[in-house]
């Protein structure tokens, strides 16, 4: 379990993380979603005690990370940029980290096999592809059989097979009762793996909610209706918190009502329905709506023209 309370990080007068409070529960995959520059990596570094918060606190399994006597058993982390000395082999990299906690050589061999790096384990990590570097980072995270796993952008640079592997691994780790906290700026990726979402923009908390509620709560949830008498139906449906808009092709887009409610209303008025379908917003659309004002580096047409 990870608990952040009023977590704030300032660099000079620039606020990278702004009063974040959230709880990451064990047993499920929690996605940490936000545009680039939203403060995700800074937050993760603060969880690991690598960066000190300007104010606020964050604990892992009840204690600040620094106070744990067996840190690698508490948290396994894959950090954003590669955190590997390029001159050292994958095996020696893992061994040197394992030795700090007395983790045996056999466990190093085990994680090397688990991430599929057996063939290249004795080669210098500097020659690794991005995908191989990610796998080595994930092996590092798994070393201590940790109760909490923190992965910053784990699918970066992985091939489709690697991405599938990560997804099932994350779900497996959560199913074993571990806390799994995964950041991404790829909404589609989160839709497939996470059950719970923590969404940030410009360092602020935008949402802390279940995946289903997140999608359901997005403003773009509309019902598409086509009937023999759209005008009459629209008149019947309109209410203070219901909007009805004409769609492009002879249909209506209704928001604020379910398909059931619309169907019953139409039936009651003897209006023949030709089409009635809920248009569920994708996670991507929901995300765009929510972070609309929270994107820090928005490209503008003028800067775009410079290229």
């Amino acid at each position: 379990m990870i608990e952040a309370r009023g977590l704030t990080k300032k660099y000079g007068d620039k606020v990278a993380v702004d009063d974040l409070s959230f709880t990451v529960q064990p047993g499920i995959v929690t996605g940490f979603l936000g545009p680039n520059g939203a403060g995700k990596s800074t937050t993760m570094r603060m969880i690991l005690g690598l960066d000190a918060p300007t104010s606020g606190t964050v604990t892992v399994n009840g204690k600040p990370y620094r106070d744990h006597v067996a840190p690698l058993h508490e948290v396994g982390a894959l950090l954003e940029a590669r955190s590997i000395h390029s001159g050292r082999s994958a095996f020696n990299h893992l061994l040197s980290l394992a030795q700090t906690s007395g983790i045996p050589r056999s466990r190093v061999e085990e994680v090397i096999d688990a991430v599929g790096l057996r063939e290249v384990a004795k080669r210098r990590a500097g020659g690794f592809s991005l995908g191989m570097g990610q796998r080595l980072g994930i092996a590092t995270a798994l070393l201590g059989d940790p109760r909490t796993v923190i992965l910053d952008e784990p699918v970066n640079g992985l091939d489709p097979e690697g991405i599938r592997w990560i997804r099932s691994m994350l779900k497996g780790l959560a199913a074993e009762g571990r806390t799994v906290f995964v950041s991404s700026h790829l909404m589609s990726e989160m839709a497939l793996t996470a059950e719970h979402l923590i969404v940030v923009g410009k360092g602020k908390l935008i949402a802390d909610t279940g995946m289903d509620e997140f999608i359901a709560g997005a403003s773009r949830n509309v019902v598409r209706v086509r009937s023999l008498d759209n005008l009459a139906l629209a008149a019947l449906l309109v209410a203070p918190d219901v909007t009805v808009k004409p769609a492009d092709d002879d249909a209506l887009e209704v928001s604020g009502l379910t398909t059931d409610q619309i169907g019953l209303t139409a039936g009651g008025a003897q209006i023949t329905l030709l089409e009635l379908a809920a248009q569920q917003a994708s996670l991507e659309e929901a995300f765009m709506d929510m972070t609309h004002d929270a994107v820090e580096y928005r490209p503008t047409t003028t800067t775009g023209a410079e290229r």
């Binding site: 690991l48 950090l79 020696n92 007395g102």
Partner: protein, 269 residues
Amino acid sequence: MTAVLEAPTNQRVTQVRVFRSEWTKLRSLRSTVWSLLAALVLVIGLSILVPAVRVAHWPPPDPNDARNFDPVATSLGGTFLAQMAIGVLGVLLMTGEYATGMIRATFAAVPRRLPVLWGKLGVFGATALVLITPAVLVAFFIGQSILASKHLDTSFGKPDVARAVFGSALYVVAVGLLGLGLGALLRNTAAAISTLFGALFVLPLIVRLLPSDWQSHVSRYLPLNAGSAVTNLHNDAGSMAPWSGFALFCAYVAVVIGFAAWRLLRQDT
């Protein structure tokens, strides 16, 4: 919350385990192994070259030159180059982790951080000492055997000779630890190496520009002069006594390491 699983004690971070980890890091980088080998080759190689040149051109035309002849220093000329190799290696052991991002993985594994600094100092200091001491001894005996052809040699039992020989090894190791401390303090390879060489080799040049009565007061306390007093067979009146000079040099190293430890704990990585 469910019953909290206490972390099994077999995964505790201990100083001994961090020593083991730092030993793995040290021996698994090719650059480290090459720098250490280079230091050994320099120490032993120059113990053949320099005495051979002295013997071939003996007696020197300047009688002062003959009077000030130091048979120990003549055989240990390689330690001047070895101190550079070891000093740079000390810097790189720390700054290499910052440059590659490895430091984040290191501090995630050892979040209290200071054991990493002690681990690097201990492992590197011990390794350097274990390699340099025999190299200096071998260099001494090779050098003396070459100098013996013109009866210029000295023996290990004569006053101050053993002190100068072991002192040379200790001085080289201390320079390595100074490099490591500067690397930890400055976190940047170029800055740490230029500071190391600036403090050792450039400061004496600057002091030489001061009025001469100041020079005599300042010069002996400079890191290079204080530290190398222990390596000289005969020290002139202006320099510090061998062991007090070396103690002062170690104090400089300790101050740098103290600041490094303070910055390590206080600042983000």
